[in-house]
């Protein structure tokens, strides 16, 4: 059975109902992360969030954006790139997944180290917990310490504490210059050490990744910054310019996110208490963390 609510209120009603009837739910949207939810109880009813879609507010000058959880990363990317901005998630798996799933799974990407992981980019959200309560957390401004941080709690909780219905994210200006080099790092002469120094230094690249025996380096910044970075890259070995779209191909073929392992995620007493507070009947994605469910 699949339910596909069109509004957050409708979704809250469905979860309240599931809570009352003790119906287990498997939360999905575009199905991008389906492989990771294999461990969810097979008898769970499907709750499809993809109907909650669309950008709610985007003021380019504020560098913030609020969208419904079922909005795809690609839609956000299209809207923001029209203003020379991006939400620099660039998650593994590509841009076809939803914003909600990307944050619920805290999926990183090749630029997370330089531009921020999901927990650093979320500034607020709306979600429905396992009792059907519709909850607002954080806000739409970039700095906010009002109240306990439910936003951080929900990011990366894999839908086990609540179903995200809306997200507000921090944006950044796209770098003026954004280019990628494929480098055959020299075997000797201290090239590896220089690469490490470069990665940690003031001219650090946006992303760096080993690929087919070469090292892909993505440089971003203003023209003078990138020119200086480029000079360093050329000292590391034979460097060839490379289409920046290669990063999308790499993201799409990478099997990440791997999904929560059969870990102790819910094993420690504190996490167990948190879980009980937000999903007392254990109906949200039961089993996804590898935990037992009755």
């Amino acid at each position: 059975m699949t339910s596909r609510p069109a509004t957050a209120a409708e979704l809250a009603g469905m979860i309240r109902d599931a809570h009352d009837r003790r119906t287990r739910l498997r939360v999905i949207a575009r199905g991008t992360w389906q492989g990771c939810t294999a461990a969810v109880a097979p008898d769970a009813a499907v709750l499809d969030v993809s109907g909650l879609s669309g950008i709610i507010e985007y003021v380019p000058g504020d560098l913030t954006l609020t969208a419904r959880a079922g909005t795809t990363v690609a839609e956000v990317d299209a809207a923001t790139s029209a203003h020379g901005q991006w939400c620099p998630l660039l998650p593994w798996g590509g841009d076809e997944g939803t914003l909600g799933a990307t944050f619920a799974t805290a999926t990183h990407g090749p630029c997370s180290v330089s531009l921020g992981a999901p927990r650093d980019l979320a500034i607020g959200m709306e979600f429905v917990d396992g009792t059907g309560a519709l909850i607002r957390a954080g806000g739409r401004v970039v700095k906010n310490v009002a109240g306990f941080d439910l936003t951080r709690l929900l990011v990366g909780s894999w839908g086990t504490l609540g179903v995200i219905t809306e997200l507000s994210v921090r944006l950044r200006a796209r770098p003026t210059v954004d280019e990628t080099w494929s480098v055959a790092i020299e075997a000797g002469g201290g090239a590896r050490a220089r690469l490490e120094e470069f990665r940690r230094g003031p001219l650090a690249p946006l992303a760096m990744m080993e690929f087919e025996g070469r090292t892909l380096v993505r440089l971003g910044g203003n023209a003078a910054f990138v020119a200086a970075s480029r000079e360093i890259v050329k000292t590391l070995g034979a460097a060839d310019p490379c289409d920046t779209r290669i990063w999308m191909r790499l993201r799409q073929r990478d099997p990440k996110p791997r999904g929560p392992l059969a870990s102790s995620a819910l094993g420690d007493p504190l996490s167990t208490r948190v879980k009980k507070q937000f999903d007392p009947r254990h109906i949200l994605n039961p089993g996804i963390m590898g935990e037992a469910y009755a």
Partner: protein, 471 residues
């Protein structure tokens, strides 16, 4: 069974337990003027084991407590109203500094600027820099998710804490770690940072250290109208430049600073100044400087000064960092606000704040993090004058309502504490406040840590059902 003071004295030594009213006097306030609360007693553990033993003793006695660092907070978060105050200022060891890993492990009582001092020989620093950094502690910074001018580029405390060991109010010790790419589990560290002492007591914190920038350019742009300065600040951010800091000070603040010992050479006839710092790699830095200068001029800047050396830079910053202190000269009391608004609305909101100030006949001094839209409309006043105090409080309420209505929030870095708890119901619906209570209950089921702060307790659905232990 021994009484609590004796039991605590046995743990930390009698001289580290204060009970007499005269001794407790100094702990009746934090840095938020206008509030006084007398702790029942104060205890000062000196080691990790002592902190744990103190918390466990309080747990056995079912007694509530408030953890406190340096007491520099601006929301009344460290005030203890007839409960036990746990002072952590003796916990000031820097346990280790790892230059290669760019991190450090510190006890909660380590002073923010001491940590940077310890990192300096390695070309590193601790990035969050609240204005009280020469006194405030890392434990307090973690509790408040403290910010500071340089958080615009580098992020707030949350972004710089890698792990923490915490003793929960029930006596269990937990290790909270920042989730990485391959680590699953709830981000309990993220929930803990900014929990304002309501979730437990920090035993140690692992922080990220940031490499010192290759180059720093500090500019002071002066404007003949606040509106122009605010528009310039919004325009710089909108242009995609990410300054390390972007601060606005208005005429009232400039006057207060220039009349004090912290005089920084700000132009006294300016309506507002922007203190702008860009930093990073030397390559490309001057292009950012030119862009900032061009935008300031386009928005009507009269003059833009660039600090020529470290001394001038420090002087420009001193005025900003000591601005709150400088206001102490103007009047005996100071009302401090911390609202955040969308950056594009800075100019109209500042105009509305000026209107409110004029109507209530109060003196609003703005000094704030313009780059984040984090306002600090501060009002020096005489609290002994009941009429003036009433007008100040009315104006503060109006300003807060305005910021909420414009899509902002009530606090960007100071915390809710006691001071802003009354606004929480304006900002969040009941179900959200209840959810916050439930998160707190997971950490502190008996609600003994920092009672009466952050979320109004009547908003907790099961408040009456919970074991009442708020003695």
């Amino acid at each position: 069974m021994t009484d609590l003071p004796t039991e605590l004295s046995d743990i930390v030594g009698a001289r580290h337990v204060l009970q007499r009213a005269t001794e407790l006097l100094v702990y009746e306030n934090d840095a938020l003027p206008g509030y006084h609360k007398r702790p029942r007693l104060a205890v000062f553990p000196g080691t990790r084991d002592e902190v744990i033993a103190v918390v466990r003793a309080l747990h056995r006695a079912r007694v509530a407590f408030v953890p406190r660092g340096a007491g520099t907070g601006l929301s009344g978060g460290a005030l203890a109203d007839d409960v036990v105050l746990i002072g952590l200022q003796r916990m000031r060891r820097i346990i280790s500094v790892d230059p290669a890993g760019r991190s450090a492990v510190v006890e909660p009582g380590v002073v923010n600027s001491s940590l940077t001092k310890a990192a300096t020989p390695f070309g590193l620093h601790y990035a969050p820099d609240p204005s009280s950094q020469s006194a405030c502690t890392i434990g307090g910074n973690v509790a408040e998710n403290a910010g500071g001018p340089h958080c615009l580029k580098y992020g707030v405390t949350l972004n710089h804490v890698l792990a923490a060991s915490v003793v929960l109010p029930g006596g269990d010790v937990v290790r909270l770690v920042r989730p990485g790419e391959d680590r699953t589990g709830y981000d309990l560290l993220g929930a803990y940072v900014g929990s304002e002492g309501c979730f437990g007591v920090t035993l140690d914190v692992t922080v990220r250290l940031t490499p010192n920038p290759e180059g720093i350019r500090t500019m002071l742009a002066d404007f003949t109208s606040v509106d122009d300065a605010a528009r310039a600040a919004s325009a710089i951010v909108a242009a995609g430049i990410l300054p390390a800091a972007l601060e606005l000070m208005d005429h009232g603040t400039i006057e207060a600073v220039e009349s004090s010992i912290y005089a920084a050479g700000y132009p006294r006839d300016a309506a507002a100044v922007l203190l702008i710092e860009v930093d990073g790699a030397l390559a490309g830095l001057d292009d950012d400087v030119s862009a900032v200068q061009r935008i300031c001029r386009e928005c009507g800047a009269r003059e833009i000064r660039t600090a020529s050396d470290a001394g001038e830079r420090a002087r420009l910053w001193q005025g900003r960092k000591k601005a709150f202190g400088a206001m102490g000269r103007v009047a005996p009391h100071l009302a401090v606000q911390d609202a955040v608004v969308p950056r594009t609305k800075l100019a109209p909101i500042l105009a509305r704040i000026a209107e409110i100030g004029a109507r209530q006949r109060i003196h609003v001094c703005n000094v704030f993090h313009a780059g984040d839209g984090n306002l600090h409309p501060n009002v020096p006043y005489n609290g002994d004058d009941p009429d003036e105090a009433a007008r100040v409080h009315a104006a503060m309420r109006e300003i807060m309502e305005l910021c909420i209505a414009e899509g902002g929030t009530i606090t960007g870095e100071h915390g809710v504490g006691l001071d802003k708890i009354g606004y929480m119901e304006r900002l969040f619906p009941g179900e959200s406040l209840d959810a916050m209570c439930r998160l707190r209950d997971a950490f502190d089921p008996e609600r003994r840590a920092n009672p009466g702060k952050v979320v109004p307790s009547h908003r907790c659905r099961e408040w009456l059902a919970a074991p009442g232990a708020h003695t």
